[in-house]
Amino acid sequence: MNLRSALKPGFVGGIVVVYLSAIGMVERFQDRNVITGLVGLGVVLMLVAFAITSYTAARKSDSSLLTGVAVGFISGAFVAIVTMGFEGLINAGLDVRGMFVSITPGLLETLEFGLNPVVGAFMMVVASTAVGAVSGVLVGLEYHLRSAVVFAIGITLLMSLGEPILRVTLGNLQIPTGWLYELGGLTIAGTIIVLALAFGLRWWWMSRADTRREAAAQMPEATRRTWGRASLMAAIVALVALPWIVGPFVSDVLGTVGLYVLLGLGLNIVVGYAGLLDLGYVAFFAVGAYAAAIFTSPASFLVTEEGQQFAEAGFTNLWVALPFVVIIAVVIGAAIGAPVLRLRGDYLAIVTLGFGEIIRTLVLSDWLSPYLGGAQGLTRVPAAPPSSFDLRNPQHIYYLILAFSLIAAYISYRLVDSRVGRAWAAMREDEDVAEAMGISVVRYKLLAFAMGAGVGSLGGVFFAAKIGSIFPNSFGLQVSINVLAVIILGGIGSIPGVIVGAAALVGLPELLREFGEFRLLIYGAILIAIMIFRPEGLLPNKRRQRELHEGQDLAAVDLTKEGPS
């Protein structure tokens, strides 16, 4: 190894840590305990940055341990020097915070591990070098061992970050948590137990991988199907039991995640299956929410003289309104779709972007404000709960969202391998030939658009019912972007991907509220990382994976082994 190959990653690691510190992330994160009394999240963040740079550099080198140590040392030294520099500037009486607002005494204390500046700087270098050494050793380890170590560390971090949910959940299950958690972080004993358990489980699971594969291969088709069905049932039972285990707060988060799962499944039909990039998906979400509000809110313009009959006919009941809302959305979807679907690719994306904005502007307009409430929005949606089922209770509406998500997932699943799904796949690949083969491209595009609109409007209905009041600013471009990011992260065209994407992009930030101000930064960093390292998403659809890794060794893949995912 030569020193130069360690220089660049070393500086990158150092600069990343200094950057994260200077924007205040390290200090803010440090408030959160990972291992109470020992390590805070801010320090973990730094160590992870060191570890990633050392690891990637060590992997490319033939002497991984040396490279790891060198990278770790350089990163740590860089951070230590910058820290001492700031310390010196402050001591010299300069107003550092006039420029770097986040360079607080608290931050410097974190960067010096609470010691005096010189010892602190030394500690920083020692810590980063140690992390670099560990990363270098990890690279050299045999695959199973490495995987088990990384898994154990990852699980421990997740257990610690998940403290707010897990403590409540375990409490609801009458499991004592005192030994595991303390002051928002893991106890030292808890950490050791979790590390050991995770390591052991992973090791055991991987050592049995061959046996398991053999058993699976020998299993008759019928047994395999029974197993598949049984695990699906188990998953559904778990999903049904979930809100009562995790309590109302997490249930509320689960409801929001479910909403995005629903929206993701809808957009997935349009973007993933039919290949139409729709950047204005929020339009259908808004249509669903506003239609539901108009039908069911007592503040609605429909509740006037002639509207009275309407109410008496039972339309103000959410259940009765639901199918009409979906029909309206499908009709609007088709009406918007008809003129624009002759456009392709980028042009379609830009026009849909415009439609999303048009809907929002229309809602805000004076012209429609007597009907849609303008900036004041519409409140009390629906006025009376449809029955004893209380929509305002997060544990109740969760079920509504879950039920419709399951239906949407089932329909999506069945669509992929159907005639319609094949026609979409053909269209995505070569529109001209698809047309020459007799596939009515316009009709299939419209179908995708209308189905996406219908599912999106359901999301809107539940959003309105969940929040109880709707305002135009809930329907901005951000929603379209979020939903698109959900399906990109999970894997375009993949149903499990939508669920994972929604959980990661919507669920995690809700649970890590204290990091609110850095949310978009983290969001962006994750998306960039996904695009670079895994463009097919976390749980990809097999066909997409082939499309993106064209020419790599997937050439002779046996297509029967793929589920329709």
Binding site: E429, M437, R543, L559, T560
Partner: protein
């Protein structure tokens, strides 16, 4: 001609201001193999696109099976029994062989009959059956041409339109492809084939037309055309 299953009568078509077809008339009788010959840019592919409604005719009429089709959409025309094997094959490369064949049958509903047609394709091209789950894009050139023909056949066409089936294939494969076309014809499918390879096409065809810069310049039986001195003119015309 009254027994023509497909006829173009005084058809013209243009791309913007550029006239691609100028008043052409072609008749294809039931059970025949008819070829349309011509050099690059003579308008051969445009003729096929116009028949299928992918390019609109400005004038003239196209009659298929006794009805005018020039105003119909492509899917409507395909569903009446006209299917094309596109130039350069244009398979759905990321789909399996089986899926490509199923796409051909996309307009039809009867699962049993589709399966029957797929089996028929496999009996024509046993090689495809061996590769049923393989990705179409990984097939060899000859296999891809077979699959492209197979994909068109699962639509159960009355008339099969082929756009330069010999393009980019080794001579031995070209011969095989044309033998297969003959076999498909003998099983009762009418064939209209567009080709640059005049001798190969005429060797299996009943009749032929020669297209030059958008107009039909020759029309005769295949045997006569093969002997015709002007045939080479039609090809060399541009180079003179």
């Amino acid at each position: 001609m009254s027994d023509a299953i497909l006829s173009l009568r005084h058809v013209s078509a243009s791309y913007g201001p550029v006239r691609a077809l100028d008043d052409i008339s072609i008749d294809v009788n039931e059970g025949e193999i008819v070829c349309l010959l011509g050099s690059n840019a003579a308008g051969k592919s445009t003729t096929l696109r116009t028949i299928l409604g992918m390019t609109r005719a400005n004038a003239g009429e196209i009659v298929f099976d006794g009805e005018r089709i020039e105003g119909l959409t492509t899917p409507e025309i395909v569903s009446r029994g006209l299917t094309m094997v596109p130039e350069n094959r244009r398979l759905f490369g990321k789909m399996s062989v089986k899926e490509n064949l199923e796409i051909g049958a996309n307009l039809r509903d009867d699962k049993a009959e589709i399966q029957e047609d797929i089996e028929r394709v496999f009996s024509l091209f046993p090689r495809l059956k061996e590769r049923i789950r393989q990705r179409a894009g990984t097939l060899s050139g000859g296999e891809q041409q077979m699959l492209a023909i197979g994909r068109a056949l699962t639509a159960r066409p009355k008339v099969l339109l082929l756009d330069e089936p010999s393009m980019g294939l080794a001579p031995i494969l070209v011969e095989q492809v044309f033998e297969t076309i003959q076999e498909i014809n003998s099983q009762g499918t009418t064939i209209f084939v567009v080709e640059q390879n005049a001798h190969m096409a005429l060797s299996i065809a009943d009749r032929g037309y020669v297209l030059q810069t958008g107009s039909i310049v020759l029309e005769d039986t295949a045997a006569n055309l093969l002997e015709h001195p002007k045939l080479s003119d039609a090809y060399l015309g541009e180079m003179e």
